[in-house]
Symmetry: C2
Subunit: 121 residues, 2 copies
């Protein structure tokens, strides 16, 4: 519940289809549907610029970053925004608008689930 | 050392460029070179058919499988071979030819390194 008078910030939530879904890859073959869903998450990290941006957000002070914090990746700010949006759509980042900027942070449960699919340890 | 008279099987090794390389994504931003190298591994799992084939090999009895073990994924045998080769080139599978067939198995150190990059735990 919000306190009366509290400022409501618009929260851009993760797409429902991006939730972690599947057992370790060594446990049993994925179904076509599971593979479809999970491949989209791996694909999001399958681009060098996007992977670099993901690591920039993941390692940024406070665990979040906005486009304004990101430079020196060799692509324009609109391209950075485009890639961050893709990472959000894949469920790997969450985002929140504050004033002019959208701030991104890692969705730890989704990333941990991807990690566990590869290696349950 | 091989015993005298032992049959030498040609071993198709993993490409050198596919070795695990990088710190956890939360530790520091990846360099462009690290991102290039690592994105290729995530990209290999970023296709639904390829991810499904990877899980088929990873979960197959004995930890290895050949094209002859794989059916029911909705693509032709040459397409299966093509995808398995891509997974090998990305370093996620190793392969060994025995007679007519090439057998594939998971490269556990590479897959574990990908997992640890996502979530060092």
């Amino acid at each position: 519940m919000s306190k009366p008078g509290a400022v409501e910030l618009p929260v851009l939530t993760t797409s429902d289809t991006a939730a972690p879904c599947c057992p370790p890859l060594t446990e049993r073959p994925l179904t076509a549907e599971e593979a479809e869903r999970t491949a989209a998450m791996f694909k999001a990290l399958g681009d060098p610029v996007r992977l670099r941006l993901f690591s920039l957000v993941a390692s940024h002070a406070g665990g979040e970053a906005c486009v304004c914090d990101i430079s020196d990746v060799g692509v324009s700010q609109p391209t950075v925004s485009h890639h961050l949006k893709k990472l959000r759509e894949a469920g790997l980042l969450t985002s929140e608008r504050r004033g002019t900027w959208v701030y991104y942070k890692v969705a730890p449960s989704v990333v941990a689930a991807m990690s566990a699919m590869l290696d349950p340890r």
